[in-house]
């Protein structure tokens, strides 16, 4: 009997230890920690080098050249393990690990899939996509400046310049 009482006191002494979540929001940022959530991609910075795809342990990032100047990068983020390796190797710092962890969805594939298409230069020898040595080289590539390339569903970076009627 005495030990049961002791047990009860032990349990009461701890007080409330659970979080109010989901009735109160939980913010991992508040922990000042290094929490790794949903990897956000700045599609305007992506140069299509494919480093993220090469290091991804879950093989969640797929690279596909859909024509000679367009590289499509598909991120199947339902597979993502949030390790942050892609953000670590990205030479353009285009990927940030956010604190977002509420990713439950009834359409996981659609909601968590992210596609972006990047304009690439075409190799004069083999005809395949490659990343030009400098941004200037890229501007010189035919087809770059009036691109209506989809950049992750966003507006194109540059509006095609209308020729002045005057």
């Amino acid at each position: 009997m005495l030990s049961k009482l002791k047990e009860a006191i032990l349990c009461f002494a701890a007080g409330i230890v659970t979080l109010r979540y989901p009735f109160a929001p939980h913010d991992p940022e508040g922990e000042e920690g290094e929490f790794r959530g949903y990897p956000e991609v700045d599609v305007n910075r992506c140069i299509g080098c494919g480093g993220c795809a090469a290091v991804c342990p879950a093989r969640a990032i797929m690279i596909e050249d859909i024509d000679q100047t367009t590289r499509r990068i598909t991120r199947l983020r339902e597979r993502c393990i949030y390790c942050g390796r892609c953000a670590e190797v990205c030479p353009q710092d285009a990927i940030t690990m956010t604190k977002q962890f509420e990713l439950a969805s009834d359409k996981v594939r659609e909601d968590l899939e992210h596609v972006c298409e990047v304009f690439m230069a075409t190799c004069k020898r083999c005809g395949r996509c490659y990343e030009p040595a400098s941004p200037l080289d890229k501007i010189m590539e035919p087809g770059y400046r009036h691109d209506e390339i989809k950049r992750g569903g966003q507006e194109p970076l540059y509006e095609p310049v209308e020729a002045s009627s005057e």
Partner: protein
């Protein structure tokens, strides 16, 4: 005795039967032998030299030299020595003599090598399938290089595992294929006479995930640590750490000292949280749920701390070849010290309460007995071994990371029952807290990642062991082409410990079986790194739950 002198003594003993002896450093020895004398060598190592059998591994090297490589790994714990015995067998007629008759602990791994690469152990006392599904095609060996990693043969519903006949007069109580307390797939057939258990048979590997195959055919060196970490849901860091150490050693990469300390701290943090978790589960198994609630409450601040340090509560994602990705900076030191102080205080209260608790003692004392000699024979690891008076601990016997610079104690008890295994873990948790404090104090400044210049050359090998909360984790890596290992072999401690179940449950009451199995903290997912379909079959008389209940009530 160093690896070199041990190699020389082997050479003197076996002469021409040893084709090659190579010492790597002072603590690893690789010998290549004539396959015909494998039993003789194994017998000598195990019986005369007192080596402990660790695991064996089958490698398909037909593309290189037309042969299969079978490697048996032994450990000489007193001399800080790991020995790999390579034997090459003909690629067209892959057979090798079974060493199980002389080294009983080799039972499972020889069957696994047969299932996975198709090298048949001749003279094996129990040649049933172990790893592959019962309806997996006869001549398809998943770890051979000519088999695709994503292969899915058609299932065939009418095949069943051959069952072991229970002893005369005994009845069978099946538990599984989902083990009721651990919510993991395992199928035990417990043979009982009345209430008393007289034997057991086990069928597991229902959850085989093909981890080794993926590592050797799809992933690259630096992708593997993240998958290795997912071998176990509780103590994943030990696997990524052990794998990285093996590759680093094979390639001769010097890990910065600070990275070694970070690894050590994380390993010990993991041990504390794993032991807390285990104690809760053990309480839950025997129906003492207050223990579960309290230990898990105590564990929670540690999980938050892990998130703060690594970015995640579990699967830290810290290890890469050459070091760690995140430092333990000065501003988390305070947090670590606070959390440890809190856990230590509460753990001490628990420590004083447990040995005096009549409920716990009634259930734990004298149950799940594993005598010392049996523990040695079955080569069990970790707290299971130390609870049976076998004083082995990788941290002391084969120091890795920063353990050679820290004061680590072996916690050994010799009552050989469930109480001993509880006490070992109670002691170890306090010891782990102490090690974390030492490491935090001693941690030198410096980089946390080595600079790795060129590619890792093919054909190098190394072994690495880490003391996981459950026992010794062992990894062997043979480097290969295309930036990935040619063969990566993993042995989790539960692989050895599970084989001791029949011994532990024999003589106990049926009601003690869950805690017997629970007492070595089984991690079925660790053991089952590959994939199997579930087929249950009961040829012999099988009781339903209601029948068991009715029987108990009529007593």
């Amino acid at each position: 005795m160093t690896a070199q002198s041990f190699g020389d003594s082997l050479k003197n003993k076996f002469g021409d039967k040893l084709l090659e002896v190579e010492a790597a450093g002072v603590d690893q020895l690789y010998v290549r032998i004539v396959p015909e004398c494998l039993v003789e060598v194994a017998d000598y190592l195990y019986n005369d030299e007192g080596c402990r059998f660790v695991i064996n591994s089958g490698t398909d090297r037909r593309e290189h030299n037309g042969k299969f490589l079978i490697t048996h790994f032994f450990a000489q714990d007193e001399e800080n020595l790991y020995i790999a015995v390579h034997a090459e067998v003909d690629g067209n007629d892959p057979r090798i003599d079974s060493i199980t008759p002389v080294v009983p602990a080799a039972n499972w791994s020889e069957r696994e090598a047969r299932d996975m690469v198709g090298v048949a152990p001749e003279g094996h006392p129990d040649p049933r399938r172990l790893v592959l599904a019962d309806d997996w095609p006869e001549d398809l060996y998943p770890l051979r290089t000519d088999v695709e990693h994503g292969i899915k043969p058609e299932s065939c519903p009418d095949v069943a595992m051959p069952l072991v006949e229970p002893p005369e007069g005994a009845s069978v109580v099946p538990i599984g294929p989902y083990f009721p307390v651990l919510e993991e797939p395992a199928y035990f057939r417990i043979f009982v006479e009345g209430e008393t258990v007289v034997g057991a048979d086990y069928r597991g590997f229902y959850n085989h995930r093909g981890v080794e195959k993926l590592g050797c055919s799809v992933l690259t060196y630096n992708q593997i640590p993240f998958m290795a970490e997912r071998i176990c849901g509780i103590c994943g860091f030990v696997h990524s750490c052990s794998y990285c150490q093996a590759v680093e050693r094979a390639a001769g990469i010097e890990v910065p000292e600070r990275a070694e300390y970070v690894r050590t701290i994380m390993l010990e943090v993991e041990r504390v949280q794993s032991h807390l978790l285990w104690l809760g589960i053990a309480g839950h198994i025997i129906g003492f749920d207050t223990v579960l609630m309290q230990t898990w409450r105590m564990r929670e601040p540690l999980m938050w701390l892990c998130e703060r340090i690594t970015g995640n509560r579990k699967t830290y994602g810290m290890n890469l070849i050459g070091g760690v990705r995140r430092d333990i900076t000065a501003d988390v030191h305070g947090d670590i010290t606070d959390v440890l102080a809190k856990i230590e205080k509460e753990w001490r209260a628990l420590y004083d309460a447990i040995p005096g608790d009549p409920t716990l003692m009634a259930r734990l004392k004298g149950t799940g007995e594993l005598p010392e000699e049996k523990a040695r024979e079955l080569a069990v690891a970790g707290p299971t071994a130390r609870g049976s008076g076998v004083a082995i601990d990788v941290r002391v016997d084969h120091p890795y990371a920063a353990y050679d610079r820290l004061d680590v104690k072996k916690c050994v008890y010799d009552s050989c029952d469930n109480v001993a295994r509880v006490l070992v873990r109670l002691d170890e948790t306090l010891d782990a807290i102490d090690i974390i404090r030492q490491a935090l104090d001693d941690m030198p400044d410096g980089p946390i990642m080595a600079e790795i210049g060129e590619e890792i050359p093919a054909g190098l090998e190394a072994m690495s062991a880490v003391e996981a909360p459950r026992g010794e984790v062992f990894h062997w890596v043979l480097t290969g082409e295309e930036n990935r290992p040619e063969r990566w072999r993993v042995r989790a401690p539960t692989y050895a410990n599970l084989q001791a179940v029949p011994t532990m449950v024999t003589g106990d009451a049926l009601a003690d079986v869950p805690i017997d199995v629970g007492s070595f903290d089984p991690c079925f997912s660790c053991t089952e790194r590959m994939e199997v379909t579930d087929l249950k079959s009961g040829i012999i008389r099988v009781y339903t739950q209601d029948e068991v209940l009715a029987l108990r009530q009529s007593k």
